[in-house]
Symmetry: C2
Subunit: 600 residues, 2 copies
């Protein structure tokens, strides 16, 4: 096994051979998936052995890894002993990666990257910026791929499957019709679907290509007459073939999209340059007109239809049952039987697997004890796996993908006596979570307008959780999706700030993270629903989809107002009413106690 | 006197003569002042006799007046009996004026407006949109000016004056240096100051050209060597002449800027096309490069320096003393002596005039009784002037410009017994005002992130106040200024959403307005100040600048949380401590009672 430093030296040799001064290794795949990718694309991980989100930039005398606040602690630990410098994104004095690439590329120099995994939008921006320096971009070589060759995982090959209408509520024909209507409205002849989720949603097909996300590596093109689906043909089962025949979908080879793009002449093409890789995009003749906007499917899939909402509710009830069994097991056994972060997590996986229609976890479970929980996207490894004692907090952030829908929930569980400070933080996180849940707002409101409700109680004590408060949740798709979210700051820097529409699901997950000390997060999923419509407009509010008790052993009521206490009691009453029919005996008794009314 | 309908018919005749299909009459002057203008520019008022903010669009078979939620009730009343249709901006189904102009202009047709009072930005946008219809724009004729000729007020002619350094804290030399540094950073050779406020701030000069706003009709151009000041020369007193000589400011005729703009060749010119009128802007040769951004002075003047803050605090104490005298007079005399909206307002003017260094009201006082207060920008006229009885609410929104600084305050006063509903609304408005006041936030936060704190308690009962929560306040300049504000919605539609910086002043003024029934608003001014700086960044919060009791007779504590009651008591304690040294006898006694502690 080569060390990280050896691999970086090998890369530098290749850079010198190719005349590349600065090499950029992003986090994305050839669809610019913003978060999770197939192992084949994990070049940054191969080079740095850091698994979190981020990117690398390498020159002959510098190697840096950029990551955001969620991963600072984890990256510090992973990069120890390597020559890689940790670049803490959005911290004072830390340049943004794109600005750094431009700055580091010398006059008349060369910036390199694999153009399959960098967006057309970024590439255009970089070209423009480097023009002033008379520097060029080399995007035809995947240098990490050259180093990785022998050990590199293959592209996914598993068969695809159809997700029946009873789960999605719409046939592909209906969805294709809606998409074509949107294309007509924009005057688009051709729509290129470059994200992994869009073709899945459009055609009610799913795959198993990315760990914890039921998507498939395909591209699609929609015209007013045809739908083309670009995929490795051996992955199409007879059932999928029949399904595609019914909905007039033409299957083409995965690499075939490039040729079809080359054929387009004088068309108006709707394509999002942020998810279109630079190499494929370059095949489109400039004689065509480009509508460079998010695909209409982004908004369509965010607004769940009645069937998707009904099914998602079912998924959440099953998920709540699994969580209650887990919490009961954890709280009653801690200190009595041996327990680690991983054994606890395995136990939760086992409970979720009992749920009908369960497919897989919707993301890698975070089971983090005490200081480990300060790492926002911690994943217990054999090395880090902490033994759990009857004291402090265990933070468990987990979710399931069911055929019905996708869940995401975090509970922080008191395993024994807590300090006053721990209770204070837990209660202020809860206070923010409750305040956002009871938001009541006019149509036109964005997550940017609401974030302070969840974050405020922590800002009030000079603490920030350094990440968004909430993200959209897909339906049997990615657990993180746009176009909406709950974030603060200048929305220009914020791609996930769409107006909240009825049917949108969003997570509500404030937290407190004190490096090496503790991590607390409480997360419920919220559904946006219509309220009163009057003279002022359409009011909206949230309905909670998640049913699971919040640990009352960690609540200190001195930090709550009356309105918070009433709301918490009402929520717990609801949890008991909803889940109790599915539980019995000791677990049911435990739930009754866990959802008891509290007073000051 | 011609009627409104007659004037519109005359305009239609002129439009036919000139071959204009659609005529646009905006609200602005030749500096695109967003709110108040000299009477000379009040074309929309001349045509419609509606005094609020808004614009008109006229065709041969349509005349419409667009205004926003603050003015709906007032416009309904003012437009009664005219042929003008009220277009309620941002209400469902109501097109935006710009979109309507484009839509109404026929193929091969002609859109007309006076290019002196429409921005270069809007004109470019309209030209682009009309190109598809092969329609043209006629911007050289001020058709309303032709109709108005005989009665039209003259351009302002009063002398200008110097505002000494003891008030502004900086000399023009220091300010010019800061501006040139900003120009250097942007690579600008020339900065064109088109707003009325920018030259006033830069050179510590004020005027009396607009009612209630101490600005002057001048343009200015700053280069790295010179400052040119375009003004009607007879307005320059000897003192101003001496001041300009000291700071090397060259005075040129008001209309002379056009010629100087024509001379610019191959320069990089910083100019905001939103405040640059289309006719002047058209004089700039396209060989120059334009940096189309807000002038750097917008941000400079928003962040008050130490002297401006100290002086503004003094102004607020004087203002609070006047307000307390007024409130005492009002509450003790109502029902005993005859009283109207106008007589009350005159009494308040008289108390303010007792303040040292008082110049004028900072905007037209709103003294509005009962249903009249539902009109957000109501101004009592002889016709509307209501008699005040010892019942219901009087809303008084007023402010003063002092040499020290500018104030803006609203109090809603209970004149007698109130209904349960009135108390509920008053208390929820107060609750929102208090919540925004105690906001505690990280650097990077915008008003868009905070608006919900003030608005939330009203949204919770399905009521909206249909306007922003807060605006920036100038220093001895306009009472409404950017670049910040407290508003909700999509920030793309929102020009006043800058990051909140230390030294920024912003108003905090939620309200409830029920047409024909009541209007409640409580407004304090807030100063943005630094709090703790730690691992997470720089925390900020607000300090209240306004000292004046909030009417406890209208508070129903059942709608407040403990935190609200504590905060209200602390505020009242502060008000008493600050103002009591300046009061005595009966008024002091009254203040003591008005600032009493309350409990549940």
């Amino acid at each position: 096994m080569r060390t990280v430093n050896e691999k970086i030296e090998q890369l530098r040799t290749l850079m010198r051979d190719k005349g590349i001064d600065v090499y950029y290794i992003p986090n994305e795949d050839d669809h610019l998936s913003p978060e999770y990718t197939a192992d084949y694309f994990k070049c940054k991980y191969f080079m740095s052995e850091f698994e979190g989100a981020g990117c690398m930039i390498i020159t002959q005398d510098f190697a840096g890894l950029w990551t955001d606040g969620r991963y600072f602690t984890q990256a510090e630990s992973d990069l120890k002993g390597t020559c890689i410098e940790l670049m803490r994104m959005r911290q004072p004095g830390v340049p943004a990666p794109m600005a750094f690439l431009v700055e580091q590329t010398p006059e008349n120099g060369c910036l390199g990257f694999d153009g399959h995994v960098v967006s057309a939008a970024d590439t255009v921006m970089l070209k423009k910026a480097l023009k002033k320096k008379n520097a060029k971009i080399h995007l035809d070589d995947d240098l990490v791929g050259i180093l990785w060759e022998k050990e590199r995982p293959a592209m996914p090959e598993e068969p695809l499957y159809v997700l029946p209408k009873k789960y999605t509520g719409e046939t592909p024909a209906e969805r294709i019709r809606r998409v074509r209507e949107a294309m007509k409205k924009k005057g688009a002849d051709v729509l290129v679907l470059t994200t992994l989720e869009d073709p899945c949603w459009l055609l009610n097909v799913r795959g198993n290509d990315i760990e914890c996300t039921p998507v498939a590596y395909v591209f699609a093109i929609v015209t007013h007459r045809a739908v083309y689906y670009y995929v490795d043909k051996k992955r199409i089962t007879d059932a999928v073939k029949k399904h595609f025949k019914k909905y007039k979908v033409t299957v083409r080879p995965y690499q075939g999209m490039r040729k079809d793009l080359e054929k387009l002449q004088n068309k108006t093409i709707w394509a999002d340059m942020r998810s279109f890789n630079a190499i494929d995009y370059s095949r489109i003749s400039t004689e065509n007109q480009i509508i460079n906007e998010s695909s209409p499917i982004l908004a369509f899939r965010a607004c769940k239809n009645a069937a998707e909402i009904r099914n998602t509710r079912h998924a959440h009830v099953k998920d709540g049952v699994a969580m209650v069994k887990f919490l009961h097991w954890l709280k009653t056994n801690v200190g009595k039987i041996p327990m680690t972060e991983i054994s606890a997590q395995d136990r939760l996986y086992a409970f979720r697997e009992e749920g009908e229609g369960y497919i897989e976890p919707s993301f890698p479970t975070i089971s983090a004890y005490k200081g480990n929980a300060a790492m926002l996207h911690y994943s217990a490894s054999e090395k880090s796996n902490a033994v759990i004692h009857p004291e402090g907090f265990l933070l468990v952030d987990s979710g399931g993908t069911y055929f019905d829908g996708t869940t995401d929930i975090t509970r922080t569980i008191a395993l024994g006596p807590l300090s006053e400070e721990e209770k204070k933080y837990f209660t202020l996180v809860l206070k923010g979570m409750l305040a956002l849940t009871r938001a009541h707002f006019l149509y036109g409101t964005t997550g940017n307008n609401l974030d302070i409700l969840a974050r405020g109680p922590l800002w009030d004590i000079d603490i920030d959780y350094q990440c968004g408060t909430g993200h959209g949740v897909g339906h049997v798709l990615a657990v993180h999706e746009g176009p909406h979210g709950i974030r603060w700051g200048m929305p220009a820097n914020n791609r996930a700030n769409a107006v909240l529409e009825p049917g949108m699901i969003v997570s509500n997950e404030p937290g407190v993270y004190l490096p090496h000390k503790l991590g607390i997060r409480t997360e419920n999923e919220l559904l946006t629903v219509k309220g009163k419509k009057n003279f002022y407009g359409q009011f909206l509010h949230f309905e909670t989809l998640t049913y699971c008790p919040i640990d009352l052993d960690a609540v200190d009521t001195q930090y709550l107002e009356d309105v918070d206490i009433q709301q918490l009691n009402a929520y717990h009453e609801d949890v008991y009413k909803t889940l109790s029919p599915y539980l019995e005996g000791e677990v049911l008794e435990w739930l009754k106690e866990a959802t008891r009314r509290i007073t000051r």
